[in-house]
Subunit: 212 residues, 4 copies
């Protein structure tokens, strides 16, 4: 995409990428509800309450994936605050990231339907790890030699956002071998280990910021 | 989310949160139509008219939930007019609010399918109350000591918006015990009591505004 | 919605209403595709070609409703170009208009499934007429004594947009009695009469503009 | 659409068309995931792994169509960078383009379900070609005598974007007769020939730019 500099509306370009990305993330997070199917009219023999309880795994997968996509939106939001320019590679990397987000309703539905099946758990972990790693790739590409970001952005901020993005990928990849031991160990890694890692990174970032 | 002040584009940040929130609310309100299933080709024995009349509860639930989400959009719109800054807690509270909105198509479909079942009515009331209370939490967090809002915003305006958000939660929670008496009493509370409470609050607000 | 003038960001308010409306209309127009169901794997006895031809009424309804929503988007777009302020009534009227648009995928699906049934044709005509008339109501409310629009907007422009919005409602209502004679007469009214009426209105508008 | 020049907010008009177009493209690209159906609970006899492998054609069609719509978004994005004005014809042409994008989930689903059926392959090729040609028509209309674009936009940039849009249409139309020989030849044309043609065009464009 050879662009003639000086022509066009560069200042609007970034906000249009944001708008399209927000659109995809907003739709993916809202479409998740379609995985919760309302029980049909013939539930009276056992009662509606039991029929809803049968869906508990779907409710768990729904809430988990809503939190995951919401977290990615926050990360994308804080990442784009520093982006000033774009190029064709950046657009493609952003589309790859959006693909990993738009895909999430599928492994989420799969996890709700087959939460006792190791394969469903592994596919979910791989999908979230792919989203994490592609958002890390987007950030690494944009910040290398301050290619597309604000030149005054301090190196420690760049490192912090990079570590945060990579840590999500590492934790979800790590949970895959654990799923072979016990399926619930993978769930535990996602729900307990990830917040712990993130808090450690945030503490480290604050420590580094104080030093300056 | 430790933010380096002075870098980034703070003035664009609020409008991006609005855009994402509008996206989620616009999708949730439009997805509602999926709960209305078109009768299949084999309805000729009783006629299409009867088949459509059989869906009357779904039509009622559709219209009610459309009005509910539309009202929340208006509230979010009037709330964000005063927001000037944001922080990580505000983003998380906003995501919790969006979760309660994105979830509404499910209890709406449930209400249309099982409108005679007390559990469907209660789940609907709980869901709308959750949306009301989380929008109140968002407002209370943002306005405490004018944390994130325009410093010149008068205290009575803050109180008015807070009361309006809380009143929705209170009315929908109140309807739950009434649903145990008669299911239609819960419907009546939503459709008749809520507008009444809102009109009283608006009258009180106008009275307070005149005093100044 | 009592608003304290001077506080808030009035200039952003209109564009947020536009963004939400665009969201609802974009989703409704894109969701239409869900009414086209892909034939299952067992079509080999008659062939995929025949199975697709069986859906011809759905293709027609899809294209027609896409054109209808697209036209309403263009009308909303040209209407909002002149809007400068808003109030609570305007927001509610706009939500009623969006309800009529978000509802259209249902009568469209119904028309595709039961195109030979008079009731499906009438419901479609009523739905489009409701969208037309509610967009006319929005415009009449906004322009009465230049309430919410640019004060320099000439009266003949106001009249022209009003006539165009009302003409859609009139033509679709007119097609209802015709549907009782022959169903195809209603289709013919939509596809042939409406463009004719619109062209007449445009010619009249140009004539009036030349006089000045 | 007779527009009174000088009234209205022309500078906002283009960005609203972009926002609506982005909305439709974001929804279409995210809705694609609905073509991937999660295997039901009764897959234990053969295992979830086999059930997922049975969907391989759907995964291929999903990824292909995601890439196709993503590419069209990038093209629309680079095209609109130069657009300065609009008129009714431009709006209609843009709606026709959006129709071809919003329609793509259907041939994509069809391709996943009947990837061995020549008709599904041809319908997919026709649909993508229609999107390419309508985006070319949009560009040709906007740039003829610099009708709606920046007057300083060099002729070689106009030619380059036009060739790129037309080349997609030509390649997909070319693949149709090849589908009659062997279905996989059509796939090969899409996946291998198109990138080749695009790279040749980009090289030619760079050569022309250097000459100046």
């Amino acid at each position: 995409m050879s662009e003639s500099p000086g022509i066009g509306r560069p200042e609007q370009a970034i906000s249009r990428i944001e708008a399209f990305s927000d659109g995809v993330m907003a739709i993916a997070i809202t479409l998740l509800i379609l995985q919760l199917a309302v029980p049909g009219p013939n539930v009276t023999d056992r009662g509606l309450g039991h029929a809803l309880l049968d869906q508990e795994h779907h409710f768990f997968a729904y809430l988990l994936t809503f939190a995951v996509i919401g977290r990615f939106w926050m990360a994308h939001h804080s990442l784009f605050r520093y982006v000033r320019r774009h190029d064709a590679t950046f657009l493609v990397l952003n589309l790859v990231f959006l693909l990993t987000i738009a895909f999430l309703p599928y492994p989420s539905d799969l996890l709700g339907e087959h939460s006792d099946d190791r394969l469903a758990v592994i596919l979910y972990a791989v999908s979230v790890a792919a989203a994490s790693l592609s958002s890390a790739a987007l950030w690494i590409y944009a910040t290398r030699r301050h290619r597309l970001v604000d030149p005054s952005l301090p190196e420690r901020e760049i490192r912090h956002i990079r570590r945060r993005a990579l840590s999500g990928g590492v934790v979800f990849l790590l949970s895959i071998p654990l799923a072979f031991v016990r399926v619930w160990l993978a769930f535990a890694t996602w729900v307990a280990l990830l917040p712990l890692v993130r808090m450690t990174l945030a503490a480290r970032h604050r420590r580094e910021a104080r030093k300056v």
